[in-house]
Symmetry: C2
């Protein structure tokens, strides 16, 4: 094997890497989906606002299904692994400013370990 020790890891490429779930299921699916809940517009807004704020070391990407659909629209910010459920552009602004600019958290929008999907029925 070509393992190397963790100490050899390169420095972070992005200070913060945001992934916005943009998965879309068919209408009527019992779990719904983040795109059906409006995540694509929030992703677009967040990309534009991050640029306007000059957050050059922050990357905002869309992602496939993050599997917390019931709580969507969902996003996760790494490396800290903090999840949010923004519903409006104002929510996105608050995450950009409080979390990504100031290094804090927006507790009212955070998902916790209690926010898990119901067990699969099959």
């Amino acid at each position: 094997m070509s393992d190397t020790p963790l100490a050899a890891d390169p420095p972070p490429y992005f200070r913060a890497h945001v992934f916005v779930c943009c998965n879309r299921r068919q209408d009527g699916h019992p779990r719904g989906s983040c795109a059906a809940r409006g995540s694509e517009k929030l992703r677009d807004y967040m990309k534009v606002r991050a640029k306007e704020l000059g957050l050059k070391d922050v990357r905002v990407n869309q992602a496939g299904c993050l599997d917390r659909c019931e709580f969507g629209p969902t996003m996760v910010i790494y490396p800290e692994g903090v999840w949010y459920r923004p519903e409006t552009p104002a929510d996105v602004d608050e995450i950009l400013e409080a979390h990504l600019q100031q290094g804090g958290r927006v507790s009212r929008l955070m998902l916790t370990e209690k926010d898990v999907p119901p067990p699969k029925s099959k």
Copy 2:
């Protein structure tokens, strides 16, 4: 502001969260794209193999453009923020086994801080 201290962060939702760039640019684009370099098949393979290996605390997702196109197909694993450039299913197997199962690294496939795109021409 509704900031909360970092100590209040919930535990990690996934032990490892893999994002495989599946962005596709038009043919002939000077930067190319990960999808044009075959990333979608590698994503599909990695999802299937991760399930077969029983890696239930590992999530494999597609992502939009990770902006390291020149080195694609690219993927990044969080929270550690380690980037890889697998070219074949065998490369994906090595990442699954050495990194995601054993907690090591596959140094020959890792991107480093030297792997940056050329400056934008406009």
